[in-house]
Amino acid sequence: MEIDIIVWILQIILVPVTAPLCVGIIRKIKAKLQNRRGAGIFQPYRDLWKLFHKDEVISKDASWIFRCAPYIVFTVTIVVGASIPLFASYSDVTGSGNLLVIIYTLAIGTFFLALAGIDIGGAFGGFGSSREMTMAALAEGGFIFSLLTVGIISGSTDLFAISQNGLIQQGYLLPSTLAFLGLCIVLLAETARFPFDNPATHLELTMIHEAMILEYSGKKLALMEWASANKLLIFIALASNLFFPFGLAQHADSGAVLVALAVFAVKTIIFCLVIALLESFIAKFRFFRLPDLLMIAFIFNVVAIILIH
């Protein structure tokens, strides 16, 4: 009973608690690759702490959409983070582990983020929103289909049910690989990483996500930054636990849960490493080349579904 409660709480708070660390690790690796010392991996926590204690400036043109958006965007990431397999394949807290529910719940966050970008009436925000929605619309096909591919292989579109089956063992190596590549492309697009967006810049020509949150400050900016870190961890968890579901705790057992947490940490660090390497070795693409990449993600998955007998 006690272990159940602990697992329950862990499932809810794991994403928001560890997500900033994830961002910190990626930044640290990137710094090392650029021959810099870089800030410590706990720097994102300090940034959040600092932002939470700052005063705020809100535009006179902003409506309640702008004021509410950070809460909605952040809550969405908490809800989704609690609804996907993180370290245990049985801990379905909200009962909403269906792949379409996850995807469309994440879309609520995108919707309000984009509206907030338009709301302040600046020149940056609107264009950020336009770009973000273009990317989100085109990424949707690949996102749904890559999760659907693993769903069809395991005979259920419930993410927890999918994570209970080992995909590779079932002899669907090629379809799973294609679906995984597709999901990785979507991951980069949805979490505003290279080659889609540059998370470290405030240059008007390149920015998408940063342009939308340009007017935020103080607590609201902290929530927005935190939410985007959460989203990164959510996608990493999806990619790692659906395609490499080993190490997940299958039942309530404290040993299994501890091992599972360690395995989850290792998987996440590997993904952070790969993302950091990618960001160090490739350049950001021109905006109108991105649709090709997203279409490739979709077509990979169509091929993957065809390959499943």
Binding site: Y104, G122, A123, S129, S130, T134, S156
Partner: protein, 684 residues
């Protein structure tokens, strides 16, 4: 009590009220206010009658058949047959017309002194009456009369605002297209009569085995063209984005929300009732049509900056989504998988209801904006959320529902549609599987693009700063408008939360039909969860909504009242890079969707034209004015309708040659015709 309501008396009372409302409005046309109140009061009363009748008929599942009067005419009878399917569509019609009529009481006021309110009331009531008759008649000839009442009345409503030449032109296009459609419907009805010897729906159904297979295919194609024109299926849609925006907004809401569904109703009636069983390719054809309509519908919507045209294109998209459900139902049925077919059918019905609700909500919201700003151009809006906060909130709820965001109703019916398509991908093989993959792919992209489109629609209309002086004069709309919109917005949420119950009810509607009699249900309710198949998929919107509210509440509480309680919040101007930030620097509706249009330029064919006028025409240093014209060509008009139009004109000018104007020649024609007739009689 229930018996009385289910009996036809209440339904006839509803029809009578519409008649009284219509004719009374015409008689009282001298006084605008009285005519308005009279027509809408009776429309509300009639809708309430219809609503209570239909709701109980759907719940109790009884069939009602009755005729009014006895006609000595052969074939024709005023015969009604209301099974659960009819009752469900009567429910939708009454529900939407109830809220539209409430809305109309306040909305019509801005037509006072400009136009004749009595005429509006007359056609408005006749229009709804026509739709009710369409959904309940059970005789082809009676049905065609009802269909014409509906079409003609809606034509007059489209051209009601007749001072605008565009509206008259749109109405004319609508009149032509709807009658081309009706011609095909008549042909289909005559073919059915020829082989079954009856115009009565039930008799046709019992004699349907007499229809040979090729004729069935022809009937299918005619029905698709005929009813597809009314529903706005691409490529028969060209009238829809012109005609729906032209009508007064509460009528647009009814046309987009309800009238186009009568086409869907008749498709179900013919394919799944009258001439069942059907070949597999019918279902697949519907899936392809649905995919094309949904994807192209939303793409064209993205190119619009006229708010009502944008919404009209979204109707095409949503009809496509309904067709995806219906198409998968037909496919599964003809492959002998009735349980999955029932799933697709339920999805189609649920989306029909949901779309009726959120689309009419959006049209009413647009109408309330237009009545304040007097323009439909979204580029001239901006910042309306501060002037019309309630309208903005209701429009936001409608936008979220149509973009299929949980926990609103649109999400759940799309979720069900997805499930039936996924089932097709998993179970079918070869080219059927390919078509299901195509369908779910287009549904996935449609969802994403619809989201983008409504960020644009809501953002450009309500957010940022006003882009024209129209906005700064805007005030929140009056109470009756707000009641109409608020009820629909509430329904969006309630149907989302209560989607489990609704699914069971709609499955009941399906099971009432003979084709689904033996279908085991794939959807089951376990606790709060709706489960499809053996744990293939499950969802619980109430739990999700609850979890969301609790977490959201906690987040707000902690950030506001625990961390850094004494934070100072200052209001200041938006970061302007040191220049004066004017409203012309905001993103516009056109600018917002520009990148998507460019990405899909292969389909949308955008064109750009620059015109510059100079002060000094020779040296061209000092430009006086610049114009940029962005256009998106309608591919269908260009490649399908224009060649058709040219061909018809060419044939007509050829045929004209026999009209020589010489009396002797005409007598010769008569003579030849007589001889041919005689010969053909003798031949037999």
């Amino acid at each position: 009590m229930i018996d009385v309501i289910i009996s036809q008396i209440i339904f006839i009372a509803s029809l009578l009220c519409f008649t009284v409302g219509g004719i009374g409005a015409l008689l009282l046309r001298k006084n605008d206010a009285i005519a308005n109140i009279w027509s809408n009061f009776f429309a509300i009363l009639a809708s309430l009658f219809g609503l209570s009748f239909a709701a109980l008929a759907v719940m109790s599942g009884g069939d009602t058949s009755f005729s009014i009067g006895a006609f000595s005419l052969p074939f024709f009878s005023l015969s009604f047959h209301i099974d659960q399917l009819s009752a469900f569509f009567i429910f939708i019609i009454s529900l939407i017309s109830l809220f539209c009529s409430v809305y109309a009481i306040g909305y019509v006021k801005h037509f006072y002194k400009k136009y004749d309110i009595g005429v509006l009331g007359f056609f408005y009531n006749m229009f709804i009456l026509g739709m009710l008759l369409v959904a309940s008649s059970s005789n082809w000839l009676f049905f065609l009369v009802a269909w014409e009442i509906m079409s003609i009345a809606s034509y007059f409503l489209v051209i009601y605002d007749r001072h605008d030449q565009n509206n008259v032109r749109a109405g004319f296009l609508y009149l032509i297209m709807t009658h081309v459609g009706t011609a095909f419907i008549i042909l289909a009805a005559l073919l059915l009569y020829k082989f079954t010897g009856s115009f009565d729906f039930a008799s046709i159904q019992s004699a349907s085995l007499l229809i040979p297979a090729p004729i069935k295919n022809i009937i299918f194609i005619f029905a698709i063209i005929g009813f597809g024109t009314k529903s706005g299926i691409i490529p028969f849609h060209i009238w829809l984005p012109d005609a729906h925006p032209a009508a007064p907004s509460h009528v647009s809401a009814l046309m987009s929300g309800v009238m186009i569904k009568t086409g869907i109703y008749m498709m179900i009636r013919i394919f799944l009732y009258m001439i069942w069983p059907v070949p597999v390719w019918w279902g697949l054809a519907l899936l392809v049509l649905g995919s094309v309509s949904s994807l192209l519908g939303v793409l064209y919507a993205l190119t619009e900056h006229d708010i009502k045209r944008l919404l009209a294109y979204h109707s095409i998209e949503n009809i496509g989504i309904i067709l995806l459900g219906l198409g998968s139902a037909l496919t599964f049925l003809s492959l002998g998988m009735p349980s999955l077919a029932l799933l697709g059918f339920t999805a189609a019905l649920f989306h029909t209801l949901n779309h009726a609700i959120f689309k009419s909500l959006l049209f009413l919201g647009a109408g309330s904006v237009i009545s304040q700003t007097h323009t439909r151009n979204m580029e001239e809006y901006g910042g309306l959320i501060k002037y019309m906060p309630y309208t903005a909130l209701f429009f936001l709820i409608g936008s979220m529902a149509i973009s299929a965001l949980p926990p609103f109703n649109g999400f759940f019916s799309e979720w069900l549609t997805f499930q039936s398509l996924f089932a097709g991908i998993t179970l079918l093989s070869f080219y059927e599987k390919w078509i299901f993959i195509l369908a779910s792919g287009s549904l996935a992209f449609t969802g994403g693009l619809a989201l983008a489109c409504f960020v644009k629609a809501f953002g450009a209309t309500f957010l940022a700063r006003p882009r024209s002086s129209h906005v700064s004069h805007a005030k929140e709309s009056s109470l009756s408008l707000r009641i109409g919109m608020a009820s629909l917005a509430l329904l969006c949420l309630l149907l989302g939360i209560g989607s489990g119950v609704m699914t069971v009810v709609l499955e009941g509607v399906g099971k009432n039909m003979a084709v689904f009699k033996n279908a085991a249900s794939v959807v089951s309710l376990s606790g709060q969860h709706i489960v499809v198949g053996k744990n293939f998929a499950s969802v619980s919107l109430p739990l999700l909504a609850l979890f969301f509210m609790v977490t959201g509440g906690l987040v707000i509480y902690i950030t506001k009242f625990i961390i850094n309680k004494h934070q100072k919040v200052e209001n200041n101007i938006t970061w302007d890079c040191g220049t004066d930030l004017t409203e012309r620097m905001e993103i516009t509706a056109t600018g917002f969707s520009r990148s998507i249009i460019l990405i899909f330029r292969g389909i949308l064919r955008p064109s750009i034209q620059h015109d510059i006028q100079y002060h000094d025409a020779q040296s061209r240093y000092l430009p006086k004015s610049r114009t940029v014209i962005l256009k998106v060509h309608d591919v269908y008009r260009y490649y399908f309708y224009q060649p058709l139009h040219l061909a018809v004109n060419a044939v007509s000018s050829r045929v004209k040659n026999i009209q020589s104007g010489n009396t002797n020649a005409y007598i010769l024609y008569i003579f030849i015709a007589l001889i041919i007739t005689l010969l053909s009689v003798l031949w037999k």
